[in-house]
């Protein structure tokens, strides 16, 4: 029954391959990104939400 659909779409088999390749590439790129981030920057980002208390007397934090 479903073979009808599958055969009626030209080259449907390419779809799952495209999906897999796309996902794999994007995921790999993000993993590499995440691993390459420098520690100082990460510490700063992690503490962002917690900084509010200091807001009022914030001195200019130069990065």
């Amino acid at each position: 029954m479903f073979n009808n659909y599958l055969t009626s779409i030209e080259g449907v088999s390419i779809y799952p391959v495209i999906s897999l390749v796309l996902f794999f590439v994007i995921f790999s790129v993000i993993v590499i990104w995440a691993l390459k981030l420098d520690k100082k920057y990460i510490n700063k980002m992690e503490s962002l939400p917690l900084e509010n208390k200091k807001n009022i007397e914030t001195k200019n934090e130069s990065n």
Partner: protein, 710 residues
Amino acid sequence: MDVEKFYYDNQIVKQFIIATVVFGIVGMLVGLIIAIQLYFPELNLGLQYTTFGRIRPLHTNAVIFAFVGNMIFAGVYYSLQRLCKARMWSDFLSKFHFWGWQLIIVAAAISLPLGITTSKEYAELEWPIDIAIAIVWLAFGLNMMMTIIKRREKHMYVAIWFYIATFVTVTILHVVNSIEVPVSFLKSYPVYAGVQDALVQWWYGHNAVAFFLTTPYLGLMYYFLPKAANRPIYSYRLSILHFWALIFIYIWAGPHHLLYSALPDWAQSLGTVFSVMLIAPSWGGMLNGLLTLRGAWDKVRDNPILKFMVVAVTAYGMATFEGPMLSLKNVNAISHFTDWTIAHVHVGALGWNGFLTFGILYWLVPKLWNTELYSKKMANLHFWLGTLGIVFYVIPMWTSGITQSLMWKQFTPLGTLQYPNFLETTLQIIPMYMMRSFGGLLYLSGVILMVFNLVKTAKEGTLIKNEAAEAPSLILDADKIKKGMIHRWLEKRPVKFTLLSTIVILIGGLVEFIPTFLVKSNIPTIASVKPYTPLELQGRDIYIREGCVSCHSQLVRPFRSETERYGEYSKAGEFVYDHPFLWGSKRTGPDLAREGGKYSNLWQYLHLEDPRSMSPGSIMPSFSWLTKQNLDTSTTAKKISVMRSIGVPYEKDYEKFANDDLMKQAKTIADDLIKNGIDTDPNKEIIALIAYLQRLGTDIKVNNFAEKNN
């Protein structure tokens, strides 16, 4: 470097908080009412406006868009200002967004009980309200994006990425799924039909879960959990991974709502594969939340806020493990159309959304009103009431779902159905329904306790409507893309970031849609399938109005147990004229795809008037008003011409004599009923509904059914 003075807008946060708790109670109360109606149908008080089919969408819409929606906005308006070190860009837009959203909710609360519905799950609201939603949502988005652009903090914290993705994706989902042609001010037909409509609807429906109930709440988790625990998030690297993987994969998973349906097989498999992959980013997010508390678990012991958040994140983990499991075809064969689905969504709604909301509210209200929580004891009691409520809700629903499904599938050694009467399987699970409503009652009483606690808290303190803050103005240095700095570069450019996340979510949607929409032979035409007659079309709209689709599916899956019970399994070509599709996602009652000709008109009439007269013990509500109300035939011509405009092949000028045909067919049915001693006439609504029910599935009962494929 100048230090600028500015004020956070707390007033808007307060307004959204009030809306959250008010609509939370309303939504849950309606949920409790429909839960009780399932074993006590008389609770609709004999009114059409309070019948299960009409107020079930009221419950889902109230909980999703009013309770969770308002909490999203409260949380976003609070955290975004502080993360951007800036007041919301436009006070007018904030107010417009707030009042616009509440008006939409009121419009939903009025229109749904009146039976004004598109019947598409979580998108039931009709076209004028759809337009209003789009406008208000864009106002929110504009306000948010401009706030981000005008920020005084160089980097965008991970919570903001989730907010941006939410805004972009919900916009796209809502617009694409709401493309409909108006028939009148409060009635429209979707341009999609049958299989395509199902695919678009569940691409939308699943991603409503993804981008309304999940991503904005993850954003809230990434902000409020560290705040409540007073320690940074466990791993920022993991949060980057979590974000991109989640928004990329979630979009593809929609078809897992349509396994074993008439949807093309490759699309079903795509949904399954991506659902299984979803475990990875979801659990990454859950672990990131839980591990934030590492070394601080002693705090959890006596801090009700953290208790709520821990259970919320755990429930998120459970629901995101269960979801992929349910999308495996062999599991789905058992779970689909049963209460297992209901159990699954309530782990998410009660556990994840509900508990995170409560945790944030207990933290936020004392902060805003500059005081301490009125009673920690009460918050702890609320925690246990809520937790027990979830247990009493979910476990009976799991049991009920599996019980009913196995009963549907049970054969005797002789090869006949063990429980040929559907009603037997319903009566078996009534005790579970009772227990579930007890769970809901516990949960709701906890929420009422919370409201009391929060009101008392607010009364003790004072709200600082405009909270003063200072921050140096931001001068963005134009840094080039350096190696390994791409993400930082992205973060500093919200517009580029937004575009990129849009592309990422579009990929999944396009791969799903293109084949199904462009390839005509995707939908094999079945020669014997014809458009509905005018009377059947009117009857179908009554079926939609009364929300029959809430309890009756119209899709026979290709299993022996189903073909044995209902008849031939459903083919894609049967639905080509169904605007909207009515496959349904739950069988509280039997499937109706092959209902036509099963019973006499007399049986259908008496059963609709009083279900228990025909099926003793049935839990279907009585639809006696259909026997009294006259059918509005003034809409027939317009309906026919709108249907023709979206591809249903009615002859040219057919609308001129559609009502003559309608009356002819109505008279035939009415005469048959009168002959059998029923006091009725052809103008009654019930006649149209019977005509529709008698038509269902009869097209392919014609034996010479042929597929034209090429």
